[in-house]
Amino acid sequence: MKTRLLALLCLMLSMPVWAQEVKIDIKQFMFDPKDLTVAVGTKVTWVNDDQVPHTVAETHKVFRSGALDTDDSFSWVFDTPGEFEYFCALHPQMIGRIIVTQ
């Protein structure tokens, strides 16, 4: 029982380590991956690999990047669980979704 508690404690202490950072590529007018599930606390970074600028705009304006030129990036830390849909405000046919789990 004690070892189990200890194990659980270790697990909890190590949480920040697993709350990793995840990268989403913006390439060929698409978010890659388009759908992504992450744990609460994860920092997501979008990097624009295209020759033209894109943006990352959450549908309900939870987050909104400026114009990202080639190689520019934008990061957002997801602190609350839920589903976040976003799009490129310049090319609104580009859509992505982040699902944040507890």
């Binding site: 390439k27 060929q28 007018f29 698409m30 890659d32 991956p33 388009k34 295209d50 020759q51 033209v52 600028p53 705009a57 549908t59 400026g66 114009a67 030129d69 080639t70 849909e85 976003y86 799009f87 405000a89 310049l90 090319h91 609104p92 046919q93 859509i95």
Partner: protein, 322 residues
């Protein structure tokens, strides 16, 4: 996982492969096409290699103007490292016209990233043009922190809303529409209810025999939905224009010549002066198309519109920067 969305097929027949190939060839060969409308019936004449049109009547005009589009000043990637140079070539071409155009339309994407210095550079270049330039913004002109504030400060004086307006010149009613604000996820561009209400009011006093030229950045009709090449509520604007005898709708945005004629309305998108983009659905994405450096100017160009005063229709002449 990378998901490649399959380009959707259009069902209205506009983009059947034959027509598409034809459009692609005429645009890519660098040969211009002149459209002359007689009583609403379009007639197309190809320009020969020297840029001359076979029907001299079409060129016997008393009024002409020029459309320049998609300068993208600030772009510096492989597809055209020097858009300043190619815009200068376009400007020189307009200066060299045998007759000074009555006015010039710039149909947006003046800059690439809406930076103050990009607006400065383009304004410096464009002021060499021999006639007044009337602007509409492209989505690339709205990327500043103020969401289009820099564009509107410079070009929005005396306009309504996000920069729409109308004016008359040589008996033609010009309408500048703006469709590069308030993009919604998964949707095409939009004009919005305020602008449509303004348009209805603006047209109320225009007689149906007055030739109308509408200019806006993103095509008013849907050219290719998967790439967002269209305006969702554009059909409402088009419906208001149907009763007029001669309507010409000029766009930019897609960096290539595509035309459609519907009743008395001619839709025409112009080449840009910065870099070419692929034909609808011809590539995985609408990103800049890199061509051999010595071929680039075949893909860039300006459009000249000629009108004979009276009952005659407007003629559109596209020429490349070669």
């Amino acid at each position: 996982m990378a998901m490649h969305t399959k380009p959707q097929r259009r069902t209205d027949g506009l983009l059947n492969p034959d027509r598409r190939t034809l459009l692609k060839c005429s645009a890519w060969a660098g040969a211009g096409v002149i459209w002359a409308l007689h009583g609403g019936i379009p007639k197309a004449f190809a320009l020969d290699a020297a840029g001359n049109v076979s029907d001299p009547e079409a060129l016997d005009s008393t009024f002409h103007f020029v459309q320049i589009s998609d300068s993208h000043i600030g772009f510096n990637k492989e597809a055209n490292p020097e858009p300043v140079k190619t815009l200068q070539v376009a400007i020189d071409k307009v200066i060299a016209l045998p007759k000074r155009p009555s006015l010039i339309l710039h149909t947006g994407d003046i800059t690439h990233l809406s930076k103050a210095e990009e607006f400065d550079t383009s304004a410096q270049l464009l002021k060499a043009l021999p006639s007044t330039v009337h602007y509409v913004p492209g989505e690339h002109d709205t990327l500043d922190a103020g969401g289009g504030a820099l564009y509107l400060e410079r070009y929005g004086k005396g306009t309504k809303g996000n920069g729409w307006y109308s004016f008359d010149d040589h008996g033609v009613h010009f309408i500048a529409l703006v469709n590069v604000f308030n993009f919604q996820a998964g949707r095409e561009a939009n004009l919005g209810a305020d602008q449509l209400a303004w348009l209805a009011d603006d047209l109320r006093v225009v007689s149906s025999s007055t030739p109308i030229v509408v200019f806006t950045h993103i095509p008013l009709w849907t050219i290719y939905q998967p790439w967002g090449w269209g305006t969702e509520d554009g059909d409402q604007a088009i419906a208001m224009l149907r009763k007029f005898g001669s309507v010409t709708v000029l766009n930019g945005h897609i960096h290539q010549v595509i035309q459609k004629v519907e009743g008395n309305i001619t839709f025409h998108t112009a080449r840009g002066t910065a870099y070419p983009q692929p034909a609808p659905g011809a590539a995985p994405s609408p990103g800049p198309m890199t061509v051999a450096a010595d071929q680039l100017r075949n893909y860039l160009g300006v459009t000249e519109v000629r009108a004979t005063q009276g009952d005659h229709p407007l003629a559109l002449i596209d020429s490349t920067l070669v």
